[in-house]
C-alpha cells in the first residue's frame, strides 16, 4: 500500500530513475524511423527530416506549457482554441500596424491572458480544470469565429515569416526556439524552487499547502505559462502558413495532450519532465508524418491520436499500480 506522500519523489531523483523510461521512448522513435525508412523512400530525406523537426518544434512549444499544467494534476483543453484566437488577433495587429513586434506581443499577450483566465477559474472559482478549460475552449472558438466572420487574413512581412519558415545554418528557425524553451523549461522545472513546488502540488496539494507552497499562485502561473506558450506557438504557425483563419488551432489540442502523456508525464500529477515531452512530441510527429507518407487518409489522424492517448494513460495507470503494490 502506498501513502499519498511517497508519490512525491524529488524531481532530480525522478530524472535519474526515468532515464531508462526515456531511453525506451528514444528507442521507439528510432525503431519507428527505421520502419518508416524501409516503408517509404521519402522518410529519410533531408527535406522530410527538417519538416518533422519543424512540426515537432511546434507541438513541443504547446506541449511544454501543458506539461507544467499536467504536473500539477490539471489539464488545459483550451490550448488549441487559444492558438486560434491568438493567431487571429496577432494577424490583425500585424496587418493594422505593420509591426511584427507588436504582433508577437499581441499573440503571446493574448495567449497568456487566456491562460490567466483559466488559472482564475480553476483557483478562485474552484472549477475542475478540465471543465473550466473545456468551457474556455468553446468560448474562445466562438469568439474567434465571430471575430473572423469566415474571413482569412494573409500575407505578412518577410521578417515575421522568418519565425516560422526561415532557416539558420540549414536548420528551421522553430527548432532553435524549441531548443531555447526546452532549456528554459527543464531548468525551471528541475532547478528552481517554483518548479519543485509545481511537482509538490501535483503529488499532494494538501501537503504542499501545509508546507507553505502558495498553491493558488503557482496554479495561476502554470495556466498562464501554458496560455503564453500557446500564444507563441500560434505566431510560429502564422509565420509558417502565412495566413490566419478561425479554425487554425482546432486540431492541435489532442496531439499536444498526447505528446505530454507519451512523454511520460503522469496525468495524475507530480511526475514527468519537460525533456520527456520533447521525445513525446517527436514520437507523435513521426507517427503522424509516417501516416502521411504512407498516404493514409488524414481523417485517421484524430483516431490514431485518441488511441495513443488512451494507451499512454493506460500504461501510466498500470505502472503506478505496480509501483503501489
Amino acid at each position: 500500500m502506498s501513502t499519498a506522500t511517497d508519490k512525491f519523489v524529488s524531481p532530480r531523483l525522478a530524472l535519474s530513475g526515468d532515464v531508462m523510461q526515456m531511453l525506451y521512448r528514444v528507442l521507439a522513435v528510432v525503431l519507428l524511423g527505421v520502419a518508416l525508412t524501409t516503408l517509404s523512400d521519402v522518410f529519410l530525406t533531408a527535406n522530410n527530416i527538417l519538416n518533422v523537426l519543424r512540426q515537432t518544434a511546434l507541438l513541443f512549444l504547446m506541449a511544454s506549457g501543458l506539461t507544467l499544467v499536467i504536473l500539477t494534476a490539471g489539464l488545459d483543453l483550451s490550448i488549441g482554441a487559444n492558438v486560434g484566437l491568438s493567431a487571429c488577433l496577432a494577424a490583425s495587429v500585424i496587418k493594422l500596424t505593420g509591426s511584427p513586434l507588436l504582433g508577437v506581443a499581441t499573440g503571446i499577450g493574448c495567449g497568456a491572458a487566456v491562460g490567466f483566465g483559466n488559472g482564475v477559474l480553476v483557483t478562485a472559482l474552484r472549477i475542475p480544470s478540465f471543465i473550466a478549460t473545456y468551457g474556455m475552449m468553446w468560448m474562445l472558438t466562438g469568439v474567434t469565429y465571430y471575430y473572423m466572420a469566415g474571413e482569412t487574413i494573409h500575407g505578412f512581412p518577410p521578417g515575421f515569416r522568418q519565425l516560422g519558415s526561415g532557416y539558420l545554418f540549414g536548420v528551421p528557425t522553430p527548432v532553435y526556439v524549441m531548443v531555447v524553451f526546452l532549456l528554459i523549461g527543464a531548468l525551471f522545472a528541475q532547478r528552481t524552487i517554483w518548479g519543485q513546488q509545481i511537482y509538490a502540488i501535483g503529488a499532494n496539494p494538501v501537503a504542499a499547502r501545509l508546507s507553505g507552497v502558495p498553491v493558488e499562485r503557482r496554479l495561476v502561473l502554470v495556466y498562464t505559462v501554458s496560455g503564453a506558450m500557446a500564444g507563441l506557438a500560434s505566431l510560429i504557425i502564422l509565420a509558417r502558413i502565412n495566413s490566419a483563419q478561425g479554425d487554425i488551432g482546432e486540431e492541435l489540442t489532442l496531439p499536444a495532450i498526447a505528446a505530454v502523456l507519451v512523454g511520460g508525464t503522469s496525468l495524475f500529477g507530480g511526475s514527468g519532465t519537460v525533456a520527456g515531452t520533447l521525445i513525446g512530441a517527436l514520437l507523435l510527429t513521426v507517427v503522424l508524418n509516417g501516416m502521411n507518407l504512407l498516404q493514409i487518409n488524414s481523417s485517421w489522424q484524430p483516431l490514431a491520436t485518441g488511441i495513443i492517448i488512451l494507451l499512454a494513460v493506460w500504461i501510466d495507470t498500470r505502472t503506478r499500480r505496480i509501483g503501489e503494490w
Binding site: W138, T144, G246, L303, G306
Partner: protein, 314 residues
C-alpha cells in the same frame, strides 16, 4: 437528508435555474415579437429534445463524478451509421438498431476503460471522442450522407394527438430516467457512486459494473438522439453533433448538478436544457451568429458554476 432540508435545498436551487429561464424569456420576449408565439415555443421544445436525450444520462454520469466528452461525437457517428444502414438496407428499424449498437459499443468501451482500466473519465472520453470523430470522417470521407428514406424524417416532423413525436420521445426518456434514478436500486447506487463510493464497496456492490452500466446508458441514449438528429436533418453529417456534449454539460451545470460533490438534480437538468434551448433560439431570432452563441453558452456555464461554487461554501 430530512424532508425539511430536502425542501430547503430544492427551494434554494429552483430559483437559480428558473430565474435564468424566466429572465431570458422576458428579455427575448421584449426584444423580439416572434419569440413568445405558440409556434416558436413549440419549436424550442422540439429542438431541445435531442439535447435532453444527451443531458439525461450525462447527469447520471456527472453524478458519479465522471464526464462523457465523447457523447457528441458518438451521436454523430451513430447518426452516420444509421443513415448508411438506412441507405443500404432501406429498413428504418435496422438502421435505428445499428445506431443503438454503435452507442452501446462506445458506452461499453468508455465504461470498461474507466472502470476496469482505471483511466480518468475526462481523458477516456477525450480519447474516444477522437476515435468517434475520426471514424465519422473515415466512413464518410467528410461528405454528408443524403437520400435516406422519408419514413425516418417523419419521426421528427410527425405528431401524435397534436404533440410532436420528438417531444413524446423526450418525455418518455425523462420519465424513464426519473424512475431509474429515484425509484430503483440502480438510482440509489448512482447517488452513492458520487457521494459515498466506499459504502457501496462495503455493501458488496460492484462499483465497476455500476460505472459500466452508467456509461452504457449514455451510449444508448446517444443512439436514440442520433435517430432524432438524423430525422431532423434528413441526412447525416460528420460534424453535425460536434460540441453537443458542451451544450449538455452547460444545461446540467445551469440546472444545478454539482461537478464535484455528486449531487444531481434531474428536474434541474430539464430546466437547464430548456434554458439553453431558449438562449439558442432567442439569439437566433436576434440573428446572432452561432459562433457568438457558443461564447454566450460558455459564459452561462461559468456563471452557473460560479454560483454553484458559492453555494458549496460552508
Amino acid at each position: 437528508m430530512t424532508t425539511q432540508s430536502l425542501v430547503a435545498t430544492s427551494l434554494a436551487r429552483v430559483p437559480g435555474v428558473v430565474i435564468a429561464l424566466v429572465s431570458l424569456c422576458a428579455v427575448f420576449g421584449a426584444t423580439n415579437p416572434g419569440f413568445a408565439t405558440p409556434a416558436n415555443i413549440a419549436n424550442i421544445l422540439t429542438q431541445s429534445t435531442i439535447l435532453l436525450l444527451l443531458a439525461l444520462p450525462m447527469t447520471l454520469i456527472i453524478m458519479t463524478e465522471g464526464l462523457d466528452l465523447s457523447i457528441g461525437a458518438v451521436l454523430t457517428f451513430a447518426s452516420i451509421i444509421l443513415a448508411i444502414t438506412a441507405l443500404v438496407t432501406e429498413s428504418p428499424t435496422l438502421a435505428f438498431l445499428a445506431a443503438l449498437v454503435v452507442g452501446l459499443c462506445f458506452g461499453l468501451g468508455n465504461g470498461v476503460l474507466i472502470a476496469v482500466f482505471d483511466i480518468p473519465p475526462f481523458i477516456t472520453t477525450l480519447g474516444t471522442l477522437g476515435i468517434a470523430q475520426g471514424l465519422s470522417l473515415v466512413v464518410t470521407d467528410g461528405q454528408s450522407v443524403v437520400g435516406i428514406p422519408r419514413s425516418i424524417e417523419a419521426i421528427y416532423s410527425g405528431t401524435a394527438a397534436g404533440i410532436p413525436l420528438p417531444v413524446i420521445i423526450a418525455a418518455l426518456a425523462y420519465t424513464f430516467t426519473y424512475a431509474l434514478l429515484y425509484h430503483t436500486r440502480f438510482g440509489t447506487y448512482v447517488f452513492a457512486l458520487g457521494g459515498n463510493r466506499e459504502a457501496l464497496k462495503v455493501a458488496g456492490i460492484s462499483v465497476r459494473g455500476m460505472l459500466i452500466r452508467v456509461y452504457m446508458f449514455g451510449g444508448v441514449m446517444a443512439g436514440f438522439a442520433a435517430l432524432l438528429m438524423t430525422a431532423r436533418l434528413n441526412s447525416a453529417h460528420p460534424t453535425a453533433g460536434i460540441g453537443m456534449e458542451f451544450d449538455a454539460i452547460a444545461a446540467i451545470a445551469v440546472g444545478g448538478t454539482s461537478f464535484e460533490r455528486g449531487n444531481g438534480w434531474l428536474l434541474g437538468t430539464l430546466f437547464g436544457v430548456i434554458t439553453v434551448g431558449v438562449l439558442r433560439n432567442g439569439l437566433n431570432l436576434l440573428a446572432v451568429p452561432s459562433s457568438a452563441q457558443v461564447a454566450c453558452i460558455g459564459a452561462l456555464v461559468i456563471i452557473a458554476l460560479f454560483i454553484d461554487g458559492l453555494r458549496g461554501e460552508p
